[in-house]
Every structure is written in C-alpha cells, then in structure tokens.
Symmetry: C2
Subunit: 246 residues, 2 copies
Amino acid sequence: MRAGVYDSGVGGLTVVKSLLEYKLFDEIIYFGDTARVPYGVKDKNTIIRYSLEAVEFFKNFDIDIMITACNSVSAYAIDELKANAPFKVSGVIEPGVLALKNKIPNKDAKILILGTNATINSGKYERLLKEHGYKNIESLSPSLFVPIVEEGLFSGKVLKTVMEHYFDGVSQPDAIILGCTHFPLISRQIHKFFPKAILIHSGEAVVEFLEDEFGITETHLNTELKLFASENPDKLKEVANEWLKN
Amino acid sequence: MRAGVYDSGVGGLTVVKSLLEYKLFDEIIYFGDTARVPYGVKDKNTIIRYSLEAVEFFKNFDIDIMITACNSVSAYAIDELKANAPFKVSGVIEPGVLALKNKIPNKDAKILILGTNATINSGKYERLLKEHGYKNIESLSPSLFVPIVEEGLFSGKVLKTVMEHYFDGVSQPDAIILGCTHFPLISRQIHKFFPKAILIHSGEAVVEFLEDEFGITETHLNTELKLFASENPDKLKEVANEWLKN
C-alpha cells in the first residue's frame, strides 16, 4: 500500500514518524510545499488552491490514500480534497477529535486546542468537539512556536519564556490537542506546563483513524520513504534525518 | 513624483515611514507580497521570479522609481530588476553601506550585520563593506526577530530572552546594519544591548541615497499612500495605521 503525505513544509514528518513506527505502508511519498510555507497565515482560497495542486502532484504516484498532515489544510480544504482526489483522503482534525474521544469520555473535561492562526480561526476543531458533546474548550494560537521549532530550539530558555508568555493564565486542561505538525517536537515542554493533561498527537491519531475508518492495519517489514519538496529538497532530507532517527 | 515601494510583506512600511517623513514623493504605491511572505527563507531563483512579477505590477502605475525595501530582494534580484524595469530602481543594501560609510569613516570599526538567512547567506553586505575597506565584520541571522515583530512583541521578556540567545558572546560593535525591514521596530531594544553602536536603518539610508544618487530632494506638502497586497490587504492597512502613526 502506498500513501501520499502532504504538508505545507517539513512539519508533516512528525506524522510520517508515526506511520513508519506502525509500519502501515510499504511506500510513503512525502510532499512538502516548502516554497510556500507557512500556510498557517494564508487565507482559505489560497490554501484550497495549493491543496488541489498537491492532488495533481500525487496523481503521478498511484497512491492509495492522501494524508494531509497540515492542520491548516485539514481545516480549510478537506472537503475540496475529498471531492476532487481520485484516491482516499484523510486529514488530521477529525482523527484528532476521535482520538481525544477515545481517551477522554468525560464531556465536562477541559480541552485546550493549540494551533496556527488559520487552524484556530477556522473554528473546525471547536465545532467538531462540540458536536461530540464537549463544552469546556479553549483555543490558543501560540504563533511563535513554529519558528522556534524551525530554529531547532526544542528546549531551553527561549522556549520556556515564550511558553510562559502564551500559557500564563491558562487554567490546567485535561487534554491538549497539538493542532500543528510542529508541536509534537516540543510536546515534552508543553507537558511540563500542563502535567495533568493528555496530549493528542496528530500522527498517533491518524494511525488510529486509518485503522478504524479505512481498515488499514497491515504491517510491512519496511516502508520506503520518498521525499519531495517544492523548494530546497536538501533541507527536507536533512530535517528528516534529524527528526526520524530513533 | 511617484514611487513604488516593494516588499515581501508588511515590513517595508518602515521604509515608507522615512519616505513620508522627508516628503520625497507626492504618491507612493506600496506592494506587499503577503501571499508569499517571508522571502528570507526562499532561494535565489524564486526571489528573482517574484521580483520580476512586482515589476509587472508597478507598470500599471506609471511610477518614476521602484524601491525594494526587502533586503532579500536587494541581495538576490537587484541586478535583474535594474535590467528589466522601465523605471529607476533602488534597493536597500547599497544605500545602507553608503550611509554607514558617511557615519563611520574608520575602516577598523567593528560592523555587525543583522539580516534574514537569505540576506546573510548572499554575502552581499559583507562583500560591499569589504569593497569600501571595512575589515572587521560579523554577520548574524536572528531568525526569530521577524516572527516576534509580526506578533507585536516590540519589547518585554520574550524579546529580551531571544536577544540574549542571539547576542550573548557577540562583542560590542561600532555600527549595526539593521538588514531587515522588521528590525527598525525593535531598534531601541537592540540599542540597549549595544549602547555604543550606531544603528543603520534602511529607511533613512534610502532617503540619503535617493538624494545623492538620483537627485530626489523635492519636498511635497502631502504624500498620498496607496496600499496593495497579494493577500489580506486589510491586515496591511491595519499594520500601516499602527506603524505609520506618529
């Protein structure tokens, strides 16, 4: 089985990491739109247009399913992708909410959503959580987290100060949705601030979703990973070597 | 006289501010390529392509001179702009170096260049400074400054911690080139770290350059400013209201 993983940049590799861990595919084609990253500050129509271009890209590879690791794409373009792609499509928002539901049955639990401006402004996580009965939801867009991760500052004083800036005054949540591909890379530091919270990671959520929704469970001995980027593919390969190592 | 000011995003408004202050034009057409910001992480060919598209845009306005406020454009595309534009063209790098030369005649002075990755990697400031005889040059790319300014954190603990991260260990310079349109907005905080340094600001440098190079000195009672953006023009107008007020 062959999957196409689509992201605005390098961040989607955190989802690839989970797919590799659970050995769900024998081939993964990764496309990072690094020439036009970040999507999180772009508007809806632009994000839809870019996403449909990614469908065209994946048509070259005879994939079985396209997984959009990018939350901004999942927030704004998932319906258009499903309507236009000749293969199955999975986002990360619905998987994230379902994974949370499995872990936190109590509908009074406090849920904190962390995402980019585009994802938070779309209101998609919030709407879906409410449909599932959750009432106590807070949304936050810590815009500096992405550039800090891109700068490789996964811990230390800069990250700590920036977290204090965004998190001071936020009451302890029961669960946190890491609604951006970059956030799993600083999940341990987020957990230090909110030690009681369960963290929902898109990669693990997608693995569960692929099994429940599409019956994709088979495990393969090896997954071949092919990396493509709209700009600077060497940087993508470098980051993959760094992030995907065990 | 009519000027076109080109930038990758909203940052070029810091240059507009100087042009307004010195009343050099009766009309300024500003184009911010907000759909594709930031340029500072893109490669040379992409930056050249985008810049030539901006020339096409300004052809609609019968401008006398195009000023590229963006340092990344000035670093990579200035020759292509000059070769292809039917109007005069000014960047910010040559003006910055000439302004520094006027202020710091001593060639042994220590010069610190602050810029995006693209600007620093181009080596253009460094090369030009060396051509003018300066020997003691340090270059630094404090990548988090741009997103911090975009987040509106012009002072406070986050900015201070990030400055310590980049500046600790950097010896006191005699002059600092603010080689990115965003940096003038945090120049007071930069000055606190390096109190003896003279700061070179692209906007003021361009005003000097326009006079010396093109003889543009006339002052107009009013400058009409027209703002265009490739995405989210309302955001650009909001930022203009905030940054350009006195």
